[in-house]
Symmetry: D2
Subunit: 470 residues, 4 copies
């Protein structure tokens, strides 16, 4: 079971499920591949259930201490908690916990959630700690934005906030012996997996099973998957799934999803953009590699030929050292090469996923013009980001956002483009909903997928799903 949203730190806790259980914990900074050594991972092999977390810091300092899962010892033994998201009313809840006489050792919401679970209802030395009652209470006190994994002894609870702001999917681990005729043997297992990224299922040979619903508590144990409860939203409030997940270049590592959602959404965004912002041009192309689905969508819908105009220069490693100002000043020119054969003397429509600060696209445009492009039209396959997120997505400050320039023409002048257009918020919502319908149709009745999900468009529109407390 894994909440994986980043590459800043990684943590895993396993339980062997016996009574009393043995927990094994691994935590480290960086990607999973660098955070853990092989000998560390071997320690985990005796666990038959576990929760993990990878993190891109939103709140909380970037330190090992803040690394999830958070494990505490309680009157009823250890529980481990991993979460994805950010509690909108964290400040209020921290004060409550501290007033009770609890010292909080980190600034992370994980510890806060864990202590809230211990606090209400009062701990008694009875046989059963009633974690489900505690989780329900938490969901009432903290409406959004989170997905949770809570492990106690031989049970994992998978929890999604009532607004469904953060994704959480269940997958079924298929034995290798069923995937391949050969294979199987030691280490071949059957079981359940839960992840904030359904695309990760494929990597481990699991099949997508279903979404955890907004407000739902799902119990997973050796007896299988069981839905326990759905905590409702305040009456009238629609669900608020974060729509930004479909736009962000920084999440382009999720291109491959079980249901193909992200690739399909982006391709449809490109088609929608071709309808909203047609261009009188000769060729369509992409800023490789994340914008390619949208660019192919734009090309298909517009009827313009798709060509490659940029190729990534493999000489430029991210870790390469730049010993003098010369190389620093070369900047993006050394990162991309212009394939001028494909566009010299032509008018280019260049599709990008999003434009945040404008300092990447500007030298690319210059490069294309110098290599012979007569016009460079920038078409952005997502709406401009204009508002801060308080639900855990990192967004630059207002001053930095290029989309806060008053007019498209100003932006075009600023970055040196012939013209600039963005996808509309309505266009994005349409593309997402059409994709959902399509995917639902493809996957069929085995999925209870989120067709009726509303979306949180706060960062695009300023309309927040809950009233913000400070």
């Amino acid at each position: 079971m894994c909440l994986n949203r980043g590459q800043e730190s990684a943590g895993i806790v396993t339980s062997n499920g016996s009574s009393p259980p043995t927990y094994t914990t691994l935590k480290g900074m960086g990607l999973v591949s660098t955070a853990f050594k092989p000998e560390d991972l071997l320690k985990l092999r005796y666990g038959n259930l576990g929760i993990g977390h990878t993190r891109y810091s939103t709140t909380g300092m970037s330190e090992l201490q803040n690394c999830q899962p958070f494990v505490v010892d309680t009157l009823h033994g250890k529980i481990a908690v991993a979460h994805n998201g950010e509690l909108v009313n964290a400040a209020v809840l921290r004060k409550k916990v501290m007033r009770h006489g609890v010292g909080l050792s980190t600034s992370s919401d994980s510890e806060l959630i864990t202590q809230l679970l211990c606090l209400t209802p009062p701990m008694e030395e009875v046989d059963t700690p009633d974690w489900v009652a505690r989780i329900k209470n938490l969901m009432t006190e903290a409406p959004t934005a989170y997905s949770l994994l809570i492990m106690h002894k031989d049970v994992i609870y998978a929890v999604r906030d009532p607004y469904g702001n953060r994704p959480l999917s269940i997958g079924r681990l298929v034995p290798i012996s069923k995937l391949h005729s050969s294979g199987g043997g030691e280490g071949d297992t059957e079981g359940w997996v839960v992840s904030s990224e359904s695309c990760s299922f494929q990597s481990i040979g699991a099949k997508y099973y279903r979404e955890v619903q907004p407000g739902e508590i799902v119990q997973i144990s050796k007896h299988g998957v069981k839905s326990l409860n759905i905590i409702p939203r305040p009456e009238g409030d629609p669900p608020a799934f974060c729509i930004f997940d479909f736009c962000s270049s920084s999440l382009s590592h999720r291109l491959c999803v079980a249901g193909q959602m992200v690739y399909t959404v982006r391709q449809r965004c490109g088609r929608q953009l071709a309808i909203e912002a047609p261009t009188d041009a000769d060729v369509v192309s992409t800023v490789p590699e994340s914008a390619t689905p949208a660019a192919l969508g734009y090309a298909q819908m517009s009827g313009l030929p798709y060509v490659e105009v940029l190729c990534k220069n493999r000489y430029v490693g991210r870790t390469f050292i730049q010993p003098n100002t010369r190389l620093r000043q070369l900047g993006v020119a050394k990162k991309f090469g212009a394939l001028s054969d494909n566009f010299a003397g032509k008018r280019v429509v260049l599709i990008d996923d999003s434009i945040v600060r404008g300092n990447t696209i500007s030298p690319i445009i210059k490069l294309l013009r110098e290599a012979g492009a007569t016009e460079v039209h920038i078409r952005v396959a997502s709406p401009p980001i204009r508002f801060p997120c308080y639900m855990g997505i990192n967004i630059p400050t207002k001053e930095e956002l290029i989309a806060n320039k008053p007019e498209f023409e100003d932006i075009a002048n600023y970055i040196g483009a012939t013209s600039v257009r963005y996808l509309s918020v309505e266009g994005l919502v349409t593309a997402v909903q059409n994709s959902e319908s399509y995917v639902k149709e493809q996957i069929g009745s085995s999925s209870k997928a989120s067709t009726k999900l509303g979306h949180c468009t706060a960062c695009l529109t300023g309309k927040y799903p809950v009233e913000l407390e400070w």
Copy 2:
């Protein structure tokens, strides 16, 4: 301010003392020199007060998470706590805290102490958190064995348990410009330091000032050092300073103390041993290097000449890799060389600090015999350890303790010695007390040193300072 007892992990927290204060935390595994990088240490430079800790695990897993100081956020801002020792009634106190609805994220006493401080009296949003009342309450609930450093904003509280089991000394940081005629300048500071090892003062140019008394709470701030309170012991209970600290080879890094205590005690232990266990022999020698003061003391009192019989083989690095069984089987033979010129054909008295398992001394005796010693008499400058410690000192299990062999003769046979004798418990106490008187006399009235201190001899006698609860 530093509690330094080991080399397993190290932590430092500094505060800049402003309002609200900024705390900076560093933690790492290993010795201070390996745990922190220079760039890390630079981060600390803006703090003008701080507490640190180095640790040799007694309870709690050997993990970064258990690394002290423990810092928590409270209604009244952050507090940082470092401790040395082990609460004898930790299990009872953990249950109390958990019953209150607190989840404990580590198995360390530091977290337990911190949460106890937050718990009683109840937290209120008043102007002053009254930490002193909280510390008093803690000392009533947890009688022994600990020294504490507690930092809050611009104040540090130095606390020693009512039984005085663990040492805690105050030193005065002298400006370099007063130490040397040249020197001083940037980084030259005046101030106060507190440490569990008074010997560390010298390394940083501080002068020994005084001991924190058993049960005392000392407040240190920019206004200086102020004694706030002494929490008394239950009537009739004597103080119980850990006498083992004067015996352990593993603490031989503390040979250099401000008041010379350890060296002097060991030299006197050697003299006392010569009185208690005289030997008809030709030369006295040492197992280098920790037994040398005792050996020189034995030689002085017995009148036998002191010679070196062993020299350490510098070829044998601790990290040297042993690629085959050959080198492994050579064992201690490759660690020491025999200086046979000094003892061939002679009867040797070999002084050692302590004999725990016997597996180090045995091949040394064999080496000396093969190089020509006609007799090898082992004289141990401390009494045999016979009982477990519940106050935080690591001692092998009863089965492993060679001193549990019934008779000295059996031990001698087991390790191949001509004879074996130990210092008596009374002899040790006498050596320690004489040293204390001597040192007091030397240091004079500027010291309030612990002349009336009783000692905890539990590991030698089985008499524990408090009744053990489980």
Copy 3:
């Protein structure tokens, strides 16, 4: 000046050009970015000429010792030599050198070349060592296959073997102040660069100037670039530039070349393949990312729509640890995701650059079929490799080469494809020559580019450029 062909080791030698010169040498294992630390690179800053080398071992053990450039001290001061390629008659030449009483400290051709340069004509203590005469003699004794950089004091000689088997291009370093209106300042330099990869020029802001001709010795100094000599081939022998460089996936990092050669050649190979091996299908696609230019070329020429059918799964790091057999057995399935929207129910033409062992393409075909492709036609944009290379290119043994299966049908059956076709050798040569003409036309008269170059097709046809000695 750099010969960069790999990522196994890297070396740099600089000279400050003064008299006597100071040489600075850096060598390390791995990519440049890992082999050198920033502080190492700083050491180089006082050199104003230098030669470097990155290496993928062909002959010689993979050790730091074999790392180029090779520097030796001679009667006339130090010379440094870096080479790319492999001497076909190395064994004969090594024996000659050793018979003269020279011990060879490495198995590398670089040392052999260096000692040959010292040997003939005989060294005399005259004013001038006449390196040009020594280089000429070397080129007579060693006909192919190499490019060389030789540095002595303040001069670099760039040498290409008479058959021109290995590329060597000259570029002109343009001052930043001429590239950007802003910029320049410290570290902004003008000068000449030589590289086996003309594509690297762009990364450092240099402009392509010209090729070193087969058999040519070019002298580069502060006086500029000067052609000294061309050593002719044996009469009748055509030039023999390695054509494999245009096909190999392992060289796909060279997609971006100054003259666009590789991208253009591959796109033309795709077009040529569409002519030679047309397919009755619905969509054309690529095995990302190296086959994309050929796939787009095939799509353009065939008129079939280009779509993406595979996306790379970013979860799979190359360094990820596989703790159990389960993940190992998942294999390529976890590396690629199928974008089934784009091809379900359709006949797919899948373009690949080359098929060596077949063990990568086979599971991809299976993945596409399982995701709904009705037919999967493999079209390979290069001819089958059938013969070993003795000029320094790593090629699997005959047994491993799938192209040694007798019939295309057998290969198709083996890998599970509906059909398999390769580009013909003639098709490849045509694509290369057309590209050369096109590029020549584009670049114009400033280039003396290699229009009349014949090609070495030994690995495809078994026709070697020189008779092989053993």
Copy 4:
């Protein structure tokens, strides 16, 4: 077989002795324990003979390239060469080799020696390369100062220069099964070892066998040890064993020698010093730890009591980071503690091994005075170093040598001592010769030890064993 003189780099070459042999080479920077990883050492396990080297740079840059053993391929297969020392006529010999058309890839004497061995007599493709004739020729051309190990196929030649300047001892590896009653098994071997440090034999369970004689070539193979030849010195020239080896603190890691030479010599130096420079004082002590044997010798001969006055402060790691000037200015004060009990109110004789720059002893004297010593007499157990060494020992420049101050009184004033005296050169020679006689007597006839060895005292007297060529 190992030449171990330092800790800057380490190299090992093994041969499996078969025909043709397989050589395995390991090289790394730093101590053996850090230079090699366990998996590297495993690679060596198939060799049954090998030579190694550890190095403290004398000539040659501190680089991996200069790391010995030097291995070259010759007409007759590979030879590996390790040397200890420095050729006094290296410059002349380098020119000779380069004039022959050989490029020298390092500045090390090892490569020079290796190429000289290949050069004369001329290489021929005959059955036998006649290495012995080549070694003899080398010894004629290069009179001193070196010991050599030369490995070819299944033979190792151990060579000591005609003047015997550098030590070289042969040891016999005893099977563990003969050392211990238990033990043995896999990896238990019998065989021969050669080392520049006879003390290292003990560490691996080898017994001292004999010295290689000045000018001797010893052949070691599976047939045992065989003396082949002794190349004589020019008539009238005495042998010139480096006497400095017995004095240098930097070689204090060699305290343990098989024949006890160094410890015994130092103890005798202390006795001799007590005769030459008696002191009217109360106690004798040591600067720990290297001066302890001399201090004990001085105490024995003078009849003054031996006490410890300094103890090393274990808090001060060599790698400890000094973040501010404060700690830097504390200097040696933080390295040693004063055991004032042992010397307060007394006159101290402090023995040191050597005083080179005076900047270590000066603060120690200040520390002792501040802690109550009424007088501090420095007695140095070696003569002052006054001249440079051209045979490979690192000695500071004349300007830095405190011994170049005109009078003992000036030195005493400079360092703050009550008085300063050195051992005389004659006293050192006497102490060494007496020790040699004593040791010879002890070891008996099994040793052909170097009783008639003269000594090189060049650094003390300026009398060099050979005329210096430049």
